[in-house]
Symmetry: C2
Subunit: 222 residues, 2 copies
């Protein structure tokens, strides 16, 4: 823990991966870089950690400042620190991620529309730095978490049908899920309970509406 000789050129930043689902697609929030390096290119929102600023506080602030998105529960993903990841200087970046319902994601009205936007994960533009790698890891973590936690449950609105929950899983996994097995699995977790209400969806017969037993809590499934 001795004095490091290269402090002058070192920066620590945070980068934030925000996923949402819109129009049955998994989408990602990107900002366009105003300065070099990679000027004009799309990148993850992020910022430099301030002298007295916590890491998550930095991520929360940078996300809000650059996109207007706030009130999101960010989880630390991984720290990226390859010496060559920024062509101008040494930058070590702590990545955070979240999966957020799209109705809670209003972008800052003052931001120029060409400076911030949503992109389908399957059709991303070229990204600055190693942000492509950060996004890939975040998606991988999200897919893993789907199988051993209730992360997707937290993504639902207050009341939802099992079909809606299944659709979220299918969109994140990018594959179909067997309806019967999914229902069995989702109910066996004992994380949701019927509300007693039903919703009619098109021609289908009315479907039971469920709610979370423990809203706001992502449970690890043993």
């Amino acid at each position: 823990m001795t004095q490091s000789p290269w402090d002058r050129s070192l920066a620590v930043t945070t980068d934030i991966v925000i996923f949402t689902i819109r129009d049955r697609k998994l989408e990602l929030l990107l900002v366009r870089r105003a300065a070099a390096p990679f000027q004009g290119q799309w990148a993850l929102p992020g910022g430099v950690v301030g002298p007295d600023e916590g890491l998550k506080a930095c991520a929360t602030r940078a996300l809000d400042e650059q996109t207007g998105v706030s009130g999101v529960y960010l989880e630390q993903l991984y720290t990226f620190g390859d010496p060559g990841r920024d062509p101008l200087r040494r930058v070590i970046s702590i990545a955070y991620y979240a999966l957020v319902p799209s109705d809670r994601l209003e972008l800052r009205a003052s931001a120029a529309p060409q400076a911030v936007g949503w992109f389908a994960l399957e059709q991303l533009p070229p990204l600055a730095f190693d942000h492509c790698e950060i996004v890939a890891l975040a998606h991988h973590r999200l897919v893993s978490k789907l199988t051993y936690s209730t992360i997707a449950f937290q993504f639902m609105g207050e009341k939802f049908t099992l079909s809606e929950l299944q659709a979220v899983h299918e969109i994140i996994l990018a594959q179909r899920v067997d309806k019967r097995n999914f229902r069995k699995w989702a109910l066996a977790l004992e994380q949701i309970e019927p509300t007693g209400e039903e919703r009619r969806d098109g021609k289908h017969r009315p479907a039971q509406l469920y709610r979370l037993k423990f809203p706001g809590r992502v449970e690890i499934i043993r």
Copy 2:
């Protein structure tokens, strides 16, 4: 990503949590601090990230230099960056961890015996900085991984009995495991195969020896 005004006082370090099992106890590798702050107190091995050094490379180097332990597969755990975690300056630390068989852990002969040592997780001395919190998170991660990956399988020697594998689980979890359920679970994973050999252990009848199907690979169990 602008120039940060506080670069001069910022350091990025790595801290390394090495678990092993000896005498049926989960143990942790600690070093005694030679310099302030927390001089003379026990701490995790760790070091300052060099100008052209990758993060994992730093952890590997610091671990080797301070303890003589090498050839360990380190996994990134979490990054700790609370502004007050070091009383002298701002230090952001990337923590790594590994679970390693004790027969692969020879400590550096030249290190003074009072400067590096193994401690039972249940009887740790007071630790420097927030290292107590880092250890707690690493243990929590290890326990979680036990249920959804083959991390403990990798901890075994080349050939092992199911009782030995069960004992490792029980030591890490700090609780008894039902023998029948454990065997069913362990075999259903299809990660181990019988060697055809048996081992006689005391008065018990001879037990089948197993080996890993995919040595060196930690499998995530879906």
